[in-house]
Symmetry: C2
Subunit: 573 residues, 2 copies
């Protein structure tokens, strides 16, 4: 009531504004126009747009553009390996005011406690992190995740302040075939936002998915796919992330008549891409590069997301809305000069002005490996003539299956570096079950040593790839010591390591340090002979049993096409 | 859950649709396009848009247009003198699926009980009547209304299902000057929709009003005014009612870039206009006549209103939304063939197919006049040389003030028919206070007899205009018998009468009968010499003390410009 009265007073000219932004070209995402006017603030809110206001403090914008702070409609912060604090440090100076985050990764590790940790860690940051309740934890029954989120857990999360709705429903087969547990999650979401994930879905399957009340999709790769989804009433998020980049294909479909139905999202951003390309500012640049009207692009990155998610207090520069504002040099480079958060200048010239509060302690330890045998990676030779081999292909999430004659040594099946047949292991790390899935993999080209990571979608068990059992054992021991993260080792010890102490996924180090650490890891892997451009990213998808064809989880090899665990030897299948 | 599963099943083609609308040109308000596809229904909801669906029943649309049922963003149903039931009978066959109603009139008569009666009367109709809690009851302290709605009353109403938000905040001076009771009502509305009413407001006053969190305005009369409001983040409702008609002036401002910020509303519709012109269909016709793209017009009349009011279950033809649909011959005449309500055909060829349920009994009697003297309209002659006279001007709400020498007769001031100085009385009818405001009026031209009405904005006291005290006394007695409504009498008795038994405002008779009754009243008034085109409409505004210049309430003459009761004799002022 007090703030309401002050806002009215300031707007009416009966009291000076707390801050006046003068001389700017104000982007009206409501009308798709540029307004030359002042913006008068009352505390953390916009009081008025007009001219001739008095103020306690005035900032001259000298013709710069003033836009609403940007909204990323869908992101997994964990992909940046940054805690919310360090993520904010990276993206706020680039103009991001709000991200809608699906903490799917930490939820797979720590369950609802991990989601609550994200909520807690997001408090008091100069960035709004709105949380969507992860819909698919665990992702499958073919792996051991750290937790499960039941419909009841989801209902409890949805009742927490800061949780907006149900995050991307990846289990589209479950939706289409009306799996009761999946439907119960949709029902729990009620009238709240429900995000979708329907890569390539079309025809009757897409119709069934849309009929379930799913409201968005960010997996479109072609314009025809996007248009089919728009026609069914879905909002389409144009995704341009570090892995999947769909903007060029989709942005031509944005028209003034349908623009309100499009949003922008990054989905997954690596630390290096955040550092070097940026965040939503990068998406906006890309839109305009591809020929889109910058005002439509800005609508997508602000008002449209605010409207979809019911964030009525932001997404536009208008009286009563929160003063989350960004000062831009132009609408081509989208270079950010200043960022205001609730009326306070929080970033300038690419950096935060104040140190954000420390992150809370992690909800649980990064590793719970339990008791493992002394030779956990040994595969006894039971006489099988041939074995299945995962064939990784660079930056693809997809793998192929090869059938090869294994190399034998002392009664065991071992890696064969000459034929690039390395050994892959997935060690369950959440519950101490002692589960170790073992298999062979081709494509990494390691001549010696091992790579290990606790980032391994979606269950994020400990994945270790090695040119010898011994190197893998060294990596395992080193990871126990690291407590979660990524490392490269050889038989003599650790060559490079990046600790990710929060759930084995995130670090509270500045994102530039994380990026440098990742670069050191990649260099170490290259030095061992690995030819992949992003060995740890490729590695992180080798345990993802929802993307064909052959993957490995702690339960063993998974034939994704039949969605079942399979034997190492194809004969026994 | 059951319905969700059926919707998915039908959309996926695993079960026949309950109803299939085939061969139509489906209006996508999401994308601003026409789609040639089938619409498959699951019970009351749309399951899918596609082709080749099987169904238990199929309707061939033969190229007709299929649009979402229309939404009137703001109306006072009482202006149509129809109960919700009879209002629905009039507007549903014209394609209206939802109206957002401000029951301001019945609230002034019966308070929260009147609003609850509207909610109750709206149940089980083939029309959604979403209620906004009236914000300004009573409208002023210069009159005795039937009730007052405090911020607490409003909070209680807002908690009722079917109440969406706070209705038009007419008290803009109260907002701008931060009247605590007014702000308390805004605070009570919280994040819900808050409609505005800011005729002609500009500059700092408009800024202050917008800063209060008011979200819409439907009082714009010029495009410049509308654009100023859009720039401040207000949504603008283009109003084309029976009194105020602003569509031609505003519709040129609708562009593809800003169209989402415009809505359509009728505000007030007379029975005759509903019958002969129509409702939202008329607004759509008018938009297209004025050159607007019909798809933008339809967006305004459907999706835009649904989004503003948070009615996520309607406003578009899309999976999961309620199947409120209208079959149109074309997008020029907007002639309605059929109307579906939650998947059921409810109107065809201009008429409802089923008799709607009876209205509940009124919340209270229409009249509580209390004890009045035998000569309640007598004005003793205290020797004043001159008196103030209200000068009515046809269809204007505005009046002027004249100063005249009164006619004297037997110690009293009486009407002077030769100079068109008639007598006007406002008799308090809600609380039995016995209050009678008396004055003189010019402009009606009655040679004899009297007009009486319980429709008199905003307090709806009993207003009686007469050429003689005696005729007014006859009218008063007749009104007691009628129990509320409108009538024309002369000294010998009633000449025409229209009962409005619900609060003295509404009738449960078909709207055609009400229109005919109004026509009989107008004819009777004309026969008495009245020259005004709509004598009862003009009469109903003579007690409205917020529109200049001189008005009459039960408390006496009101000088609107100083917003105070004034004496009949200008000398004593």
């Amino acid at each position: 009531m007090e703030q309401l009265a002050r806002r009215i007073k300031i707007a009416g000219g009966d009291e000076p504004a707390d801050l006046l932004l003068r001389g700017g070209r104000v982007v009206s995402v409501h009308t798709g126009t540029i307004m030359e006017c002042e913006v008068a603030l009352a505390g953390g809110e916009v009081a008025a747009l007009g001219t001739g206001y008095a103020a306690h403090a005035t900032v001259e914008l000298n013709g710069a553009f003033l836009a609403p702070a940007f909204i990323d409609a869908h992101i997994h912060i964990e992909s940046s390996m940054a805690t919310p604090r360090e993520f904010a440090r990276a993206v706020v100076p680039r103009g991001t005011g709000t991200v809608v985050a699906d903490p799917h990764e930490i939820a797979n590790v720590q369950g609802a406690a991990g989601v609550r940790w994200m909520l807690e860690a997001a408090r008091a940051l100069p960035l709004s992190i709105a949380i969507m309740a992860p819909s698919c934890v665990p992702a499958t029954h073919l792996e051991t995740a750290g937790a499960a989120l039941s419909p009841e857990d989801i209902a409890a999360l949805l009742a927490e302040p800061g949780v907006l709705g149900l995050a991307e429903m990846m289990n589209f087969p479950g939706v289409i075939h009306r799996d009761p547990a999946v439907l119960a999650k949709l029902v729990a979401a009620g009238a709240r936002p429900i995000d979708g994930h329907a890569p390539g879905l079309a025809g009757r399957e897409l119709a069934a998915y849309a009929a379930a009340g799913i409201q968005t999709d960010h997996e479109c790769t072609t314009l025809a796919e996007a248009e089919a989804k728009l026609a069914l009433g879905l909002r389409v998020m144009i995704r341009e992330g570090s892995s999947a980049r769909n903007l060029a294909a989709l942005v031509r479909g944005v028209t003034p008549a349908n623009a309100r139905r499009w949003l922008l999202c990054s989905d997954d951003r690596t630390p290096a891409d955040l550092l070097h390309e940026g965040h939503v500012d990068h998406l906006l640049r890309r839109c305009v590069e591809e020929g889109l009207d910058p005002l439509l692009a800005l609508q997508m990155a602000t008002l449209n997301a605010a409207e979809h998610f019911g964030l009525a207090d932001r997404g536009a520069i208008a009286p009563g809305r929160r003063a989350d504002l960004v000062v831009l040099e132009d609408l081509v480079s989208f270079k950010v000069r200043q960022v205001y958060r609730a009326g306070r200048l929080v970033a300038e010239g690419g950096a935060l002005l104040e140190e954000p509060a420390a992150s809370p302690p992690p909800a649980s330890a990064g590793l719970n490996l339990g008791a493992l045998s002394a030779t956990p990676f040994a595969i006894p030779d039971r006489g099988a003539a041939r074995v299945r081999v995962i064939v990784a292909a660079g930056d693809q999430l997809l793998t192929e299956e090869a059938i090869e004659t294994p190399r034998r040594e002392g009664g065991f099946l071992v890696a064969d570096r000459a034929r690039d047949l390395l050994k892959l292991a997935v060690v369950e790390r959440h519950r101490g079950t002692g589960n170790v899935g073992l298999g062979f993999i081709r494509g990494f080209g390691l001549a010696r040593g091992a790579l290990a990571s606790t980032v391994a979608h979606d269950s994020h068990n400990l994945i270790i790839l090695g040119a010898s059992d011994r190197a893998m054992e060294v990596a395992l021991a080193a990871m126990r010591e690291l407590g979660g993260g990524k490392l490269v080792a050889d038989e003599s010890g650790v060559l490079a390591a990046l600790p990710l102490p929060v759930g084995g996924l995130m670090s509270d180090a500045p994102i530039a340090e994380t990026a440098a650490g990742l670069e050191r890891l990649a260099a170490a892997a290259r030095a061992l002979g690995c030819a992949l451009p992003e060995p740890f990213m490729t590695l992180s998808f080798m345990a993802l049993p929802v993307i064909p064809k052959l993957k490995l989880t702690d339960k063993g090899l998974v034939d994704v096409e039949v969605f079942a665990v399979c034997e190492l030897t194809p004969e026994s299948h």
